[in-house]
Structure formats: C-alpha cells, structure tokens
Symmetry: D2
Subunit: 305 residues, 4 copies
C-alpha cells in the first residue's frame, strides 16, 4: 500500500427498491470495475453513500467486497463518521475484515480547528495498524485540510496519502511540490473533469466517481498520461467531461447530493451493471424522463447502452 | 408534550479524563438543573457532545437520564446523525427507553434539497410514535430550514416544535407569526443572548446551553417574561450575556466547537457540579489559565465559585 | 448630532423611466417622511441605490435634500464606495453641501483585514469635520465589523454611531453593552422586522427601509418603546412584518437586490408618493402582476392605496 | 483584438509614498513587461489596485499607458466599478483614450441575479464600440459567472473573451468545450499556479499578476505550451509556484488583498523596476522584515536581485 498508483474508483453501492444493499448487483459492480482495468477500489466513500449506512451494513459491504475482490486489487475502506472515536470504531472493524487502508475525513457537524483536525488523524492512526488516507472533501465536512496540515501529517507518517476532492487544484499542486521528496506518499485527485491536469502536475492516482460508469475511459486516460501522451489524455478527458454532464440532468428537482450519484446509478442500470437507480433516503432517485436524458448522454459518449 | 413551555437546557455530558461518560457527575448535572427550576431537559444535543457518542453510549445516557429524572420533567432526546435511517435507528432506541420527544436535525455530510429535508422529517415521524422536534442548526449541518419547510411540517403535524439555533431571528419571528393559530406547536430559541427578545416575540421556550451553568438565571428571565416585566428580563439577560463571555476565552487556541461547551464544563467544575472539564476527542479542553479566566467571569456574574 | 435618536429612514431615490433621478417625486418622498414624524433622514444609503449613482448625481441628490429639508431634520449622507480615498472624496463633497454626518461602510471589492478596516474609518474621520457613522452591511461589502473594531472606533472617537444591518443581533447587543457608558454614541439597527427587539435591547435608533412605505408605523413603534409599552410595540412590529412580506414578491424573477427596494418603490407608487417603480440598471423592476401583489399587501396592512 | 493570444499581465500601478501614481516607475513597469516578451497588457485590473483610483486618476493612467505602449501591444483596460452606468462611464473614457478592449466584472455591492448580470454586460457592450471581456472574479465581486451566462454572452457576441479568476477550473474547461467552435472568443485564466494546466485544456491566454515580477518565466511557459513541450512547461510552472510563495509572507499582519500585490511590488522594487512598495490606503505595505523574505524568495527563483 505504500506505492498505490492509478485509477481507484469510489465504488457505487447499488440498492434494491426497498433501500437495502443489492449484493448481486454489487458483485457485478466490482467485477465491472476490475474488468475495466482499474488499479484499486475505494469502497464506502461519498459515492458509495457511506453516510447512509449503519455499522452493521458497512461491515457487510466490506466483508462482501473483500470476499469478491479476493486480493486482486487493493481495497481502501472509507471509515467516515463525524468524530474521532466513532471513526476509530469503523476503522477497527475494517481492519479486522482485511482491507488494505482506511480513508478518513476531517470531523464534521462539530466545529474543529486545524490542530484538532490534525489530532483527529493522529488518534485514528494510533488506534489501528493500517495506512490512513486523508480525504479532503470540504463540500461535505465544511472544513478544508490546510496545505500545512496535510504536509505535516504526511511527513510525520500519520497519513500515507490524500484523496483531494476539494477542487482547490492550486493547493493540491503545492502539496505535491512540498512532498516531492516523499514518493511513498500518494496524492490522488477526486476530480472527474480535470484528471489530465492533476496527472500532469504529478498526481499519483485518481478517484473519479464517473469511473463507475466508464472505467475503461479513465484507465485509458491514466495510460496516456503514463507515457506522456498529453494530447490523447486531453481528448479522453474531454470525452469524459461530456459524459459527466449527466450529473446535472435532475437538478433542481433533486439535490446536489442525489443528482450525481443518482446519474451514475442510472447510467449503470442502462449499461446492465445494476438493477435499480434507487438512492438512499431521503434522496430522490432520477425519474424516467431524467433517465432517458442520462441514457442519451451515455450513448453520445460511445458507451454501449 | 403538546404544550411544552419554558426553559429546556441542552444538558452537558460530563466526561472522565479517559473520555468516558462520568455518570456520578451526570446525575449531579441533572439534579442541578431540576433544582434550578427548569421546565424540561434536552439530552443528546450539540451541547451534550452527542455527535461524539456511539449508539451504545447514547443508549446508556438516555437510560440513565430517564431513571434519574423519573418523570419529574419531560425529557427530549436528540437523535442526531447524518441520514434518515440512522436517525430512525436512534429514534426507535430513544422511544423504547421512554423519552418524551425526539429532536431531529436536517441531514448532513450529504447535500440535500429542502424537499428532501422535509421528507427526512416525515420518514422519521412515520417510523416512531413520539413527537418530533425540528432542530435548525445550520452552523453544524450547513442547511437552514426554510420558513416554508418549517411551517409546512408543523401544519401537517410532522413536527411538534422547533428548536431554532440558526441565529436568524427575523425568520424565527415569521415562523411564530405563521403558526400563531397553532398554539400546540412550540417554537423555542437556541440562543443564550437574545432570549428576552425571543420571548417578547412570543417564543414558547428557550434552550440555552449556558443554563447548565446558571439555570436559575434563565428561569428568572423566563418568569419575568411571563408577567411582562421586560425591563427585569432585560437586566437578567444582560447579566447572562456577561456570563456568556466565557465562550471566547480559549479562542483561538481551541475551536468554535470546543470553546463554548468547554467553557460551560469549566464553569460547572468550578461550581462543584462536575469533576472534569474534559472534552471529547479531538477537541481541546480549556487549560488552567483559561479556566482561571472562566472562573473570574463566573464570580463576576454573581455565581458562588 | 451627538444625540441622534429615533427613526431615521434610508430614503428611496425615485427614478424616471429613463433612469434619471425624478426630483419632483424625490421632494414628495422627503415631505412624506417628514410628515410621517421621522427623526432624521439617511440619504444615499443602500436603499437609495447609492451605488448606482456617480459623483455628480450624488452631489445633486444631496443638494436637493439639504434644500428641501432645510434644517427640519438631521441629514445623514452615505458616502459609499469601495476604498478610502474615494470615500473621502464623497465625504468632502457631502460636507461642503451641508449634511450633518456621513455614513461609511467597510471597504469592498478589495479584501481587507479588521485593522485595515479600522484604519479606513480613521482616515475618513481625519479628512473631514463631520461625525462618521459606521455602516455594518456584510451582505453588500462581505466584511463584518467585529465587535472589537466597532467598540474601539467608538471609544477613540472615530465613529459617532453605528448602523447595524448585519442581522447579527447578538453581536449588536454586545456592542450596546460595551458602550453603555458612552451614551453619546448612537447605535442603530437596520432591521425592519425585529425593531422592537433592538429597542428593548437599548438601541438608540432604527433605520428601516420599509419606513419609506409606512413612516407612521415605525414612529408609532418607536413611541411605544419610549414609554415601555412593549406589547403595543410588538403588535405594531407584527403589522409591519406582514407589510414587509412585499420584498419577496418578485423573487426569483428579480434578485435579492432589486426585489426589496423594488417593492418599496412599487408600494410608494401605489400610495401616490412617487411616479414610477423603476430600478437602476441592471436591476429588474417589478412587473404589473407583482405590483398587484404588493398593492394587496399594502392594503392588507391598513395603508390607504 | 478578435484573436488575442498569449501572456497578458495585469499591470501593477506603482505609487509614491504619498499614495500618488509614480509615473516614472510606471513607465519602467510597462517597458519591463514589453521587454519580457508579453503579448498584451491588462491595465486597471485588480492587481493594478484599480478600485482605489478615482475617475481622473484612471484616465491619467490609461493616457500614460497608451502613450508609452504606442501600439506595440494591445492594451486591455479594466472598467471596474459596482454598477452598469458607472462602468459605462469608465468604458467611454477608455474608448476615447484609445484602448483596445475593456474588461468588465459582474456588478458588486448590489446583489444581482444571473439574468441581471447578463444584462449588465449587454448594456455596457451597447454603449461602446470596443470589445468587452468578462472578468470572473467572485473573490472580489461575490458573484460567479455561471457557465451558461458566459457561454450565452460569448455566443451572442456581447463578450469577446473571458478572464477567469474564479479558481473553478472545471467550469472553465466546460466553457472552453462549449465554445470550441468559436475560436474568435478568447478564454484566459487568471491563475498564476496552474497556468500549464489551463493551457493544456486549451486556454487562449493567461493573465498572471506574478508576471509583473517575472514576465520571462510566463512567456517561456507559454512558448513551451505552444510546441506541446508539457514537461518543460511543468518545470517552468513549478519554479513560478515557488516564486508565488511570496504572496503569503505578510499574512496575517496584512490582508488577503494587500499581501499579494504588496509582495509583487516588493519584489519589483528589489529588482529595480519600481521605487516603493507602497500600497493604496487602507492597505498595509510589507515591512522591512517581510521584504527581506520576499527578496530571498526572488533570489531562490533565480531572478537577479
């Protein structure tokens, strides 16, 4: 895990119409991604609707994942909840199940300072025997990880990597520069639409939710970048940007939270990967008209549908 | 519960130095508030550090509360977690333990629309057989309950009341006006420092964290308001405002989250109510120098210390 | 000017359909307010659309105001522009025309610190020979005046007063408490809907845009407060709250900026005070359908229409 | 002007210690930039402290610029003030002086909707006979130009280009994609630190404030990008990122506004281009200790100092 590189999708969690995890579909999602050539799997992230799942369900999802993946790829497990000791509880469960790393956000609901946020990561790291990856997602937790916080935690060995979903690409670049002499720390972008840029900056990995729909596309983009074919990377990225337009189809009828993952689920249903596009409560799922628009976008991007 | 009125403190949860609930101190907190003449108790709210406690601990706290209170006052239980079904889980536990109402925030971490927020309250209400009180606290959940959302939920019977900690007193007033013909809906302010104003507007109750330190003060303020002695209410409020200054003593060394409740705990320790001023991790507790400043403020406000 | 008290409306600037100041209507606005019993006039504030007027137009408006008012009431002049020396230019012009005080916001467009903001007020004060009133309006300038900044500037004699349009009533109360021993500093609220509360706290004046529509209402409210008749004050305030509902009529077709003043102008046109409801470019004026709704609200509030 | 391409620095305005424009230094700034090989000049932008200058000073700056530049490069003039008709006043003056295009922000201080913002640009365009460039700078005006607003204005011919200083690189990319068939519209980034990325996306120009300090660096970066040498572009960008660190040296003693341009001025003084590092009031200039740190950064980046 000290040298994770590549495309690491945040894995969608399909639901039945009764809001339970649809494990047959979930198995298909995992196989679809592995067949797509991705380099790792991030389960129980925001795209997985982790925040809607209680402890027992999270445990089942991880157990199922570890069993299906069976060592073929590294499995990163989100252990996302508002505060330190609750996160530690999730992290210990994830460790016992056999994941390869845990992914931790800043605390939320409570209002913390950057020193308290740094201590949060330290407490989690001390409590388990797995790499900790920091997840910078201010749109959900309403705290940005300062460059100094990230770099300090990386240098002292508290965190093994970063998933940056902050959209602050300038700050991400400074983290890359500051940690250039620490190649074992892997810094990943959570973007779907400026992945070529992040790779050109030197990012070590990408965690795009849209890879659930088109893993091959992001793997091609990654491969172009590895050989310095930036023009081809850009073309692939631009195709994926057009595919990404699906995330706005249901707005404003739904919400910023449900429109994106809801569109991914709708596209995956159209592609035959999962059975429903049901979103966890109280989110609204995309309706038939919106689904037709998503399907049109999927076809226009060259995906069989 | 359809006619709750008065001072309903959000009850502080004392911790041992090992970050466990200090039940002997907690019993003293409850007795201190009851002796102070308050009209109800709101446990497992933000001031109670609810978000730091896992399911098992929350259950223990509620069981202890219900046993100690023993029907002397209504007990409102916060069932605060990011999403609908997890909230329902807490709410069912609270109902089984015997609380009188549950207090529910908008979803957090996930980004929801106002219609999804309204559905969230409806799903919770349908799942239990207890009154639901909406808790509007955008500083924590980063969603404001729109006036229309609050009023619709109240009129349709989904919510029995509101705790407004948004600081938007104009919006609160419009909710009071819109629901003037529904006197069974109780609208409470979460403010500590404009309580006299909220009562003059017609608020039915007040939920001030500072009442943990000085319950008698808020009860006097309430009583002055009940007889229309607004000048005395103002004087009492102004004294409490000066007491409230404790919440800024440890800034910026601590955080917005830990400075306030941390000061309340420090003052309560000085008053002999609880044993430590320990805050849940990763929050910083007030240090000795800060404690001395808090104690000076407590003395200046006329409280024995 | 060291003892300003009472209702000080921010005066609407009527426009012709060609976006020029309609001086005959403007004279009627001034007389309407004076006849309404107000205690001062704040011209060239946000409600006056000051920010749309160039230097020459501002000068004409002030000259016209001073001529018409002719010493009957104190005239406060907004000298609102983004930066210090431009504000000083407006302030010197205002002084030469004969106003009684100038009203100054924090800098905007540029991003300043609180010490720079404090210096801004000091530079303006040093450049003129008139009282300076601080105008705290973060919704427009995107900087909040810290309690410490306001109190320091008041204690050192830089500012003679405050117009607080921040909506942070708790902070306003602490300013009142901190300056209780400085009765020559007058602290005014910019609220329309919690004026009774502000007066109960001890505010020395109120600056409600809605007083352009109903000056008598706010004067009655003020008078009730002066004799401690808080129940009557509340009833008057509640009537004015219902009148205030006009500000949302044209949303979202118009904007937060044009909906409020646009409604005031529409109501004043209905009351025969001004000739058009035209808003300065690029703002949208209320249309006929919206005007009909505003007029219905005006009638329901008991104003002849 | 329909085919502007390349590096277009926002030109710093040097001041004397008495806060007046230092024209001899200003001439040297212009020659320094032209000698640096830049492709155009953007005067009276945020970096020029435009917002601190009154109409007469702005006119003098433009006249001086046009005279010194004398047609060697296109001159873009910021016409930045809060509202439409005031912007038109500046724009007409700029046109009469002979600039090549005007640069216009969304309205500020007042709160406008996107349709009102679009109308704002249309009114300005109709009033003059020069290309209009939209300047998207939400950190100053607190309104973001929506993708739809930008694309609509570009397609209908209202705007000839965009300077995007919003930091939202994903949105910028979608604007590039949407306008791919309109190569006469030039889309420029205002970033200093992800310029290589913007160029890889297809941006037509870059407007980096830091180019005042090191124009050769940004021209080299531009040239590398033109021949697709992305690795060299990245290396140059990384060197410039290290140079950019100067903008944080004086924080938090100064402000977000004064720290950046203040550092540029300090570096330019060290390089012998300008005489003082004085910032317009009420901004604080960098002090001697901070200047020493800036100079160390300048030397470390390989600039003679």
């Amino acid at each position: 895990m000290t040298n994770l590189r590549g495309v690491v999708p945040p894995v969608v969690t399909p639901l039945t119409e009764n809001f339970e995890v649809d494990y047959p579909s979930y198995t298909k999602v995992l196989e679809h991604l592995i067949a797509g050539g991705v380099h790792g799997l991030f389960v129980l992230g925001s795209t997985s609707e982790v925040i809607f799942h209680d402890e027992a369900t999270r445990r089942q999802i991880l157990e199922h994942t570890v069993k299906v993946v069976n060592g073929r790829l590294p499995v990163l497990a989100g252990v996302i909840d508002p505060t330190t000791d609750r996160v530690i509880g999730h992290a210990r469960a994830a460790q016992s199940i056999g994941v390869d790393a845990v992914v931790v956000t800043a605390p939320f609901y409570t209002r913390t300072s950057q020193p308290e946020v740094a201590d949060h990561f330290r407490y989690v790291r001390e409590a388990i025997d797995l790499p900790v990856i920091a997840y910078d997602i201010p749109v959900c937790v309403h705290t940005k990880l300062d460059r100094k916080t990230t770099v300090t935690l990386a240098r002292e060995g508290t965190i093994a990597g970063l998933k940056d979903s902050s959209g602050d690409d300038g700050n991400f670049r400074f983290c890359l520069l500051d940690l250039m002499d620490k190649p074992d720390v892997f810094l990943m972008t959570g973007s779907e639409i400026v992945v070529d840029n992040a790779l050109q900056m030197g990012a070590h990995g990408v965690v795009p939710g849209l890879a659930n729909v088109d893993p091959h596309g992001y793997v091609r983009l990654w491969n172009h970048a590895q050989v310095g074919n930036w023009e081809a990377a850009r073309k692939e990225q631009e195709r994926l940007c057009r595919l990404f337009e699906m995330v706005w189809v249901s707005l404003p009828r739904t919400s910023a939270g449900s429109a994106g993952v809801g569109a991914f689920k709708t596209a995956m249903r159209a592609l035959g990967v999962i059975a429903t596009n049901t979103m966890a409560r109280p989110q609204r799922s995309l309706n038939a008209e919106e689904a037709a628009q998503v399907e049109e976008i999927v076809r226009a991007a060259g995906l069989a549908s």
